[in-house]
Assembly symmetry: C2
């Protein structure tokens, strides 16, 4: 199965121009991309990708929710499928690389392998997932979770976007009539490979070109309501106050220092704070703050949560503060395929491409597949770590190196 | 000058019904009062008060900004004036007692003294200040600071309310044409006496009927902007963050504990916190929070501010945080007349009325007069410490005792 990809192979086609081409579907005035699930730009982009796939000899089809597949049939009869790809949807004013690069890289890798080596032994499919971001409707992984069989129409009935447009109506208008829905679940996937931009700055700082993702973190999100008593800022002595802002500040300071101290991979973020009544000369009676906690080991998440919430509660009890903790997200950590990652390390060492093992702090379609089949997730660097922004950028050399590694891996898996 | 007020004097007229009568100007559905400067309710209330003053033999006039005076001429020719009263304006959905009680109490006290003892030796004037709250236009003490000579038309040119209505237009329509403005400054005030609800719960807790205010606190207000860097909550390790929320939390925790520790009369309040972009899964790049600091001694305010701001700055420097501190209020502390307060203590002891010395944590017209003439400020209890709310309440016994003490003091000062 060992191979040497010819250098010339990578000069024929141009990943940079394909990035710009795909970004033209949903391009904004600020040179960002807004390509929301089932929007006009989304429909046009998926159809255009379908046409490109067909041009290079892939057999295409959409499933019931709009996941696009381009199939290169294997010569080995009855073989399972190696799936590779990423998502087509973006956040509002997102970048040109998030999701899109993974779709394009998979397309180019399979095209190049096909051109150079002909059909593989095992079937390879390129996938452009319909949705991952949760940026239009309040749910994420609509594409991959339908394939996994965890999501179906029940999850989106009654769901509306921020403008009150129903999910099922948008789905139907995009060409995917819920009345003809057949579950997109797949039981023929032998392995899944995704390449994605890092969306962080670790690779850039360490001057690495490839990140070999060992784990995708688990994520827990909470809203914590701190209920004290609203009072006059001038006439209420400090010791008589039940000040929700100062209580919340204690909790945030504590959880931040505890996260720093407990484990270098643990992150805990309070990104949203709302104060009531939020007036300079009134002691605040209520604060609601968000808490986003991520780590790749469930037991670290457990012990962090146990420790901070019990500390919050003791403080609250001692200060006549009422505390309400509501969890609204619980995604378990995923460990990616150690076998595939070994193959990737071999490949990068052969090509003398600088790489490192890395933990993904963001969610990806790969985490859905991680629970159903051996899965590999590769990163290329993000300039300044910026993502979800028109300033998102990865240089062409890194993109091409990513495609090299992906191609080699697919070769090792399917040829 | 010693006197014994006849008990019967206080049975004739009814403070409670007069409170309800004045509250009828601007009464809201929630049984609150909204009587904003130069509004229709305000105009009607000042005119109605003028009529009542005239009925009981006071000589009335409005000055150029709408302060209403009711004058009881002294028999001593060339005597200066003892001024007594409070403000007529309210906050939006305020209570029936804040300001209003002081105007009514002064009116009733002077009426009763006049009925019982005839004209005083020194002239007494009842005043209903046009504005103290700053609840319609963004300035406070428009009434008393015009009398003080510190404010004039220059301070309000171009000023608009939250609906874009110009100050000078509202003033003219209320009957006070800026073109005929003559400075309301007074240099004939020998002393000023104000009675007001406490707006806090100290008297109630200590079961006292009268608060003898020794000082009105100085107030400093700031907006503190904490500038860090916005980042992905999943991909940015804790030690690489410049998190504005966690920095602001450190500052708030520090200033709160420092205020508790430095002086029992010091209060420091962060009532307003605004976070940007305020999204759960994004490390916040910016926080702006308000800081309201009050104490009756300038040197305590100075040393507190020095200590907290230098600590904030050291923390910011060590964490690549940029700090912007903007002060937008600086009111100096005022010490009230020790001579008048001695008279008040004598009176309350004679009448066996429970009293205590108290520091006012809220601002009052008395603090403007405190810098130009001997000034006395008296408090009656507020039920549950509530003010600026339809739930504001003081029981009739306490109101009457307040009028008793005020009457006796005016007798001692003017008869």
């Amino acid at each position: 199965m060992a191979m040497q990809i010819k250098e010339s192979l990578y000069e024929k086609d141009d990943v940079a121009s394909m990035i710009e081409w795909l970004a033209s579907y949903g391009l904004t005035e600020k040179q960002g991309v807004t390509r929301l699930l089932y929007s006009k730009a989304w429909v046009q982009a998926q159809r255009a990708l379908k046409t490109e796939m067909e041009k290079v000899g892939l057999r295409t089809h959409f499933d019931s929710v709009g996941n696009l597949f381009g199939r290169l049939e294997g010569t080995n009869p009855g073989s399972k499928t190696i799936l590779t790809g990423s998502h087509i949807d973006t956040v509002v004013e997102g970048g040109k690389y998030d999701g899109a690069f993974g779709v394009i890289a998979s397309f180019l890798a399979v095209q190049r392998l096909h051109q150079t080596y002909g059909p593989p032994q095992k079937t390879i499919e390129v996938v452009s997932f319909c949705e991952e971001e949760g940026s239009r409707f309040p749910l994420t992984f609509w594409g991959s979770r339908n394939i996994q069989g965890v999501y179906g129409l029940d999850q989106v009935k009654g769901l509306m976007d921020s403008e009150g447009y129903p999910f099922l109506k948008a789905m139907k208008e995009a060409g995917f009539d819920p009345d003809t829905y057949i579950t997109p679940v797949r039981d023929d996937i032998e392995g899944f490979v995704e390449i994605h931009i890092e969306q962080g700055s670790i690779l850039e700082k360490n001057q690495k070109t490839i990140g070999v993702v060992s784990h995708i973190v688990g994520q827990r999100r909470y809203t914590i309501r701190v209920l004290g008593e609203s009072n006059h800022a001038g006439t209420t002595p400090m010791h008589d106050r039940r000040d929700a802002v100062s209580a919340a500040s204690e909790y945030i300071s504590f959880l931040t220092s505890k996260a720093k101290e407990m484990d270098p991979h643990l992150v805990a973020t309070v990104g949203k704070v709302d104060v009531f009544p939020n007036v300079p000369n009134v002691v605040a009676g209520e604060v609601a703050f968000s808490l986003d906690i991520r780590h790749h080991q469930e037991d670290v998440l457990n012990s962090f949560c146990r420790e901070i919430f019990s500390t919050f509660q003791s403080h609250a009890d001692g200060n006549e503060i009422q505390l309400e903790v509501a969890q609204w997200m619980d995604v378990v950590p995923v460990e990616l395929s150690t076998e595939m990652n070994s193959l990737v390390r071999e490949i990068t060492e052969n090509h003398k491409i600088p790489y490192q093992d890395i933990i993904s702090g963001a969610g990806h379609d790969a985490q859905v597949f991680g629970s159903i089949c051996p899965t590999c997730l590769l990163f290329v660097p993000s300039r300044d770590g910026i993502s979800h922004s028109p300033r998102e950028f990865t240089n062409i050399q890194d993109l091409e190196k990513g495609i090299d590694v992906l191609s080699d891996l697919l070769y090792k898996l399917a040829y």
